[in-house]
Symmetry: C2
Subunit: 453 residues, 2 copies
Amino acid sequence: MLKELLTPEIVQFIRERQWAAMRDALVIWPPAEVADLLQSLEQPERVLLLRFLPRSFEAEVFSELTPKLQDEMLGGLTNHEVRVLLAELNPDDRAALIDEMPAEVTRRLFNLLSPEDLKETRWLLGYPEGSIGRVMTPNFVDIKAEMTVEEALSHIREYGRASETINVVFVVDEKGKLVDEVSLRHLILAPPETKVRAVMDGNIASLSGYCDQEEAVAMIKKYNYLALPVVDSAGILLGIVTIDDLMDVAEAEVTEDFHKLGAVSMEAGGEGPIESIREAAVSLLFRRRIGWLVLLVFINVFSGFGILFFEEIIAAVVALVFFMPLLVGCGGNAGSQSATLLVRALATGDVKMDDLWKMFLKEFFVSLLLGLTMGAAVFGIAYFRGGTSVGIVVAVSMVLIVMASCIVGMLLPFVLQRFGKDPATASAPLITSLADIGGILIYFSIASKVIDL
Amino acid sequence: MLKELLTPEIVQFIRERQWAAMRDALVIWPPAEVADLLQSLEQPERVLLLRFLPRSFEAEVFSELTPKLQDEMLGGLTNHEVRVLLAELNPDDRAALIDEMPAEVTRRLFNLLSPEDLKETRWLLGYPEGSIGRVMTPNFVDIKAEMTVEEALSHIREYGRASETINVVFVVDEKGKLVDEVSLRHLILAPPETKVRAVMDGNIASLSGYCDQEEAVAMIKKYNYLALPVVDSAGILLGIVTIDDLMDVAEAEVTEDFHKLGAVSMEAGGEGPIESIREAAVSLLFRRRIGWLVLLVFINVFSGFGILFFEEIIAAVVALVFFMPLLVGCGGNAGSQSATLLVRALATGDVKMDDLWKMFLKEFFVSLLLGLTMGAAVFGIAYFRGGTSVGIVVAVSMVLIVMASCIVGMLLPFVLQRFGKDPATASAPLITSLADIGGILIYFSIASKVIDL
């Protein structure tokens, strides 16, 4: 349903540099689509077009651009234009912008902010990265419990224009302390002369600005809220976070879990997951990936030592090597499945720490069935290549390797969570590497027992 | 911030079976928390407590329970109680309930529905699984463009009570055709005598009921909508989907990608990802996991044939086996990273099919750097164990294996998407297995060249 952006009309506007006509065509577009259009234009056109947009619309479009393009656009604007743009941005978008720009751009931006905006931005930036304070907005509507619904609605009419949302308004006492939240829906549906107190349900959830963004995402998902209030230690209402800001947080969080599960690190060259691998530099991708890979090289060396330990039997029965990659590979595959299932279940809250014993038992039986089925599958191949004894060695090894790998793949995320680490650190490559070592030890131990007989 | 549910007060209520007092304490809780409380109670208490809750609250709590518990609870209620409960459920929750219950329960439910509810439920169920029609609700408020804002607000007051949301209302013409959507915010902030037409912006996105839920999720994320209208082929407004229903869809979608990336199938014993691995039976987990694992056994057999092909050189230089698991393991690790990054980037829309060439070039350079670094790391070990020639064989093999695995890991998701398959089918275990085969061929080919010299 997303429309083709570069319509013949738009292409003609650009070719004939009819910026004013183009602006009139674009102002009814959603800001996200105008942002997409800007992404697909070249540099002089981009800035020219942005300049022609009405101020508040320009700010909305600007906050939908990628950080890289924002940086580029700021370079093309005069100081005066940047000042106007900054003044129009929402405080949370402004804080996000200043946070993501290189240091020299940040300095320029700080110099261009009005004293009040600077105060607001610094205030938002005082919270640690990943905290609710970073995404909250101080633009909300507060009402008093003693107002009538009619008074509350006219207060909302007067002060609601600058608010990020008025679907939910917040009831505070005379000191600014949060008392309750009331949805606009309830106000509209109540008789005008009712007191606000009568539509309150006394049921309020609030967060500290220092609270982790992930916690807020979990709350908003569980309770289907559209906005959450942020309070200080005395319960004074400081700001709100809205569902659309938290959806972006939730998406970044999921990307972080994916990347971790793929053994991509979160640290080198800035915190958190790589925002766009399309835009990421080769050097950033390299630094994010090399850490785990080199660590795993050294873990994988142990597989070699396992082989060294059994070198005699390998030299005596070279045919055994035929089944080695098959056996250790299958162990790694089954173990990765277990780790992936557990990491996701811990992230969604499906499985909790208390379920360790229950999940262990279940994994035991599932992996036994998997091992037996896969053992039966390889027995045929092994029997055909090396007779009964090789068949038995390979099949029994398969059962034990699959079970061991699955149980490690299932336990490791639990152990990591228990010690306050992210369960997703139990990545598929890590489990596969551990399965390699374990697999070699199990296989050749069984082989040397049986072949000694 | 989630409160401890089994407070001393609640425990006492349960022990003394004071259901009425307990109900009074619970009705101000969010329904999701009461549902959690029910999950933690035993069977007779559960049904007793649910029975005591006020009707509409009971329905809200009920729709937050897991399908398994819903099934159990329905078994404990009389036909009359079930009928009352069904009448109170939202149409979309009711359709979801009927969809998820076993066939005999579904038959019982259909028999207990009132004729209008049955019609509504059947109508919602007429759309294919995974379509927007399945999650839309016919409970919305529609207004006319000719109304004044004041008339529209009093219309909303009158008809808005049963609506799933009134944060957005929909403007239709006299035939029921969708004309525009207007947020409650704009109505509240406009002067009462303004015509609705004057607050419309002519900018409307709508969906067909047959449209895929994932498409709706993408739209809601991109445009920060709170609700989307669903229309038929003539543009008549049929229903709406709200952000909270779509967030559940989005979460299931992400789980599906995780499971696929871990080589867990979506088909055996019902469509879609396993909803809860905590609740899933051993037999379901087994069936979902065994398909790919057995397929990969047969793929891994090719690694054995690779070894068979080079059996002579292995028998001659057994020391070469020492580095085999290390080299193929590292290839698999690097390849899984590439596949994971690409699968996620294609899912979020960061990377599109058009970016194939750009991503290929980037992957080429990243994997070259990764290969060189890892090659340097193993050169030391290999030199120490086998002298210069072994060192060179191992280091050169590492570079080529890492590059080949990364490029396969990066290309496979693109190829799958190109042929209309889910890119996440390029799972970490599949890439690892392919890297095993490729790694063995590359390593021993190079070794036999160098050792022939």
